[in-house]
Symmetry: C2
Subunit: 326 residues, 2 copies
């Protein structure tokens, strides 16, 4: 690289690390390792995620959008555990040290770190095909993490926010938006997901299981069912299609049927899907995000979809509205 | 990928994670985050490193050699802090899910994890140009980490093991080994560096500063000088070339002069370079690795090289044996 690794870190990332006056960081960027203080009475939770050009994003995606997606996807995993975010490390592989790119990337990352109370504590920069890896670190009081396991028959199935928007944003960006009303909102939901950290914290001691919606509701819910059920006592779910929270923008652009399909299987919404013993529902006051009750855990060993009481066939990653189940 | 991400993790990496019965891991691979217990009275130290095809290794490098290099380079950063290794996370970007590759990689990684007492606690697998990122985590008693800062005028400069071998191994692999005696040993030093974890632990409370030799002795030593000195009180070093520890294999293959050049600037030896108040030298008994005293910290603001008392000119990343300094 024209700009050496040391210069690059010094110019773009060290100031960002120094901007935080986080007492938990005894030593940040600049030594062989960062040195960190873990709060007593807490467990550390960590998750690592990569974004790769050509797989997760198109060439020439603006650097600030990459920073938002990387950060959002990674921090969303902390939200799904009910964890308080603490630190982030970054491994950047770049074809060249493009200063404008680095400035836009580091500026957006810095904004997000400030917003979510996260300190950049270390990283590695290497030359090669563009890819970005982030590890996020957070804390939960001992034994209080929300896991995928823990859901029980009869628990309500809930989701935050509105589903399918990220997939709609991607569709519009690739093939054009049929309706201009959705352009800004849906693009933003694709590029800049909002990890539901505050909601995750509010669900501690309430939710029986939680996951963030990264692969699509059906796929992520099935992870909860698998982790919560046992071989001899499998769990299933009954979902009410009419209860899926959809944005006006998504419906006006792509129609209700398509919107529902994407809400079920679109992925990358980075909303939370969680299960809740019914008696806890009235205790959820003043949540930082809207939530919707979309179904119930069953002992069916399957996910079944209903539209106003009428069962729909589940086909592949979506459902067929007009066919009766076989 | 032919093999889905979930199957891939389940088949190759989950068993590896489960193999460890590490009580510090409350929940390993398989949820949104790993859940971890940090030991009381300790600080967490972390480092993230990437290896990228075409930049750090050639196409078709065997998977077990990649596992060794990735692991060695990453854990070496823990050694340089005097930390006890604990956990590793892994972000793998693979062009395809080659089962033989995955088996060789995960098997070698598993061996190394077992050897160094490290648990695999999480990861991400994505499709794209081959690159491997690892984050390592370790612990030091509060305030006991070895840093790059802390060296003082008069401190001895020491290194572990023998230097230049990794560069010699690379040279031989690229252009052939002039002498068959070095083939096995030097290739191994390139592909499978041995992080000096036990030595790092033994240097706690003794060494005034430490770094691992990844960029080359001169470059890494200059990091110590920079971190330890101040703008108005810069530090320098005086190195005795004849004291540089060289392997017989390296000298027999490439000659003493070339061996010294590589010892100074070859990089990727992953030995430790550390500074030591002279009074501590006699207290270093039964070290797990051989160490050599190669020089002394000065207030010169420069690194000066001497060969049997005669100063040599330092040119670029090496030195010129026959020229007197200007």
């Amino acid at each position: 690289m024209a700009l050496g690794e040391f210069d690059l870190i010094k110019r773009y990332f060290a100031p960002l690390a120094e901007a935080s006056s986080d007492a938990s960081v005894a030593l940040g960027v600049g030594d062989d390792c960062a040195i960190l203080n873990c709060p007593e009475g807490h467990q550390l939770v960590v998750s690592i995620d990569s974004l790769v050009e050509g797989t997760h994003f198109l060439q020439d995606t603006p650097a600030d959008q990459l920073a938002s997606r990387l950060f959002g996807a990674a921090v969303s995993d902390l939200a799904a555990m009910g964890a308080k975010p603490a630190w982030i490390t970054l491994a950047l592989t770049l074809p060249q040290a493009n200063e404008l790119w680095l400035e836009r990337f580091s500026q957006k990352l810095g904004q997000l770190c400030l917003q979510y109370g996260i300190s950049l504590i270390g990283g590695d920069t290497t030359k090669g095909p563009l890819s970005l890896t982030a590890q996020v670190h957070g804390f939960v009081p001992v034994g209080k993490a929300l896991k995928r396991s823990g859901a029980q028959k009869g628990d309500l199935i809930c989701v935050s926010g509105r589903l399918g928007d990220s997939r709609g944003g991607l569709e519009g960006l690739l093939n054009g938006f049929p309706d201009s009303r959705g352009v800004e909102y849906l693009s933003e939901r694709f590029f800049a997901p909002s990890p539901r950290v505050e909601l995750g914290l509010a669900l501690t001691d309430k939710a029986s299981a939680a996951i963030d919606i990264s692969d699509g509701l059906l796929s992520d819910l099935s992870h909860i069912l698998k982790a919560s059920g046992a071989a001899d006592e499998p769990l299933g779910a009954r979902l009410q299609l009419e209860a899926l929270p959809l944005s006006e923008e998504l419906v006006s652009c792509f129609g209700e049927d398509q919107a529902r399909q994407w809400a079920l299987s679109g992925g990358e919404d980075f909303e939370l899907c969680f299960t809740l013993p019914a008696e806890h529902l009235p205790t959820l006051h003043n949540l930082p995000e809207a939530i919707a009750v979309i179904g119930k855990i069953t002992d069916d060993a399957d996910i079944r979809l209903y539209d106003r009481g009428q069962e729909c066939a589940l086909s592949g990653a979506g459902y067929d509205h007009f066919k009766n189940p076989g």
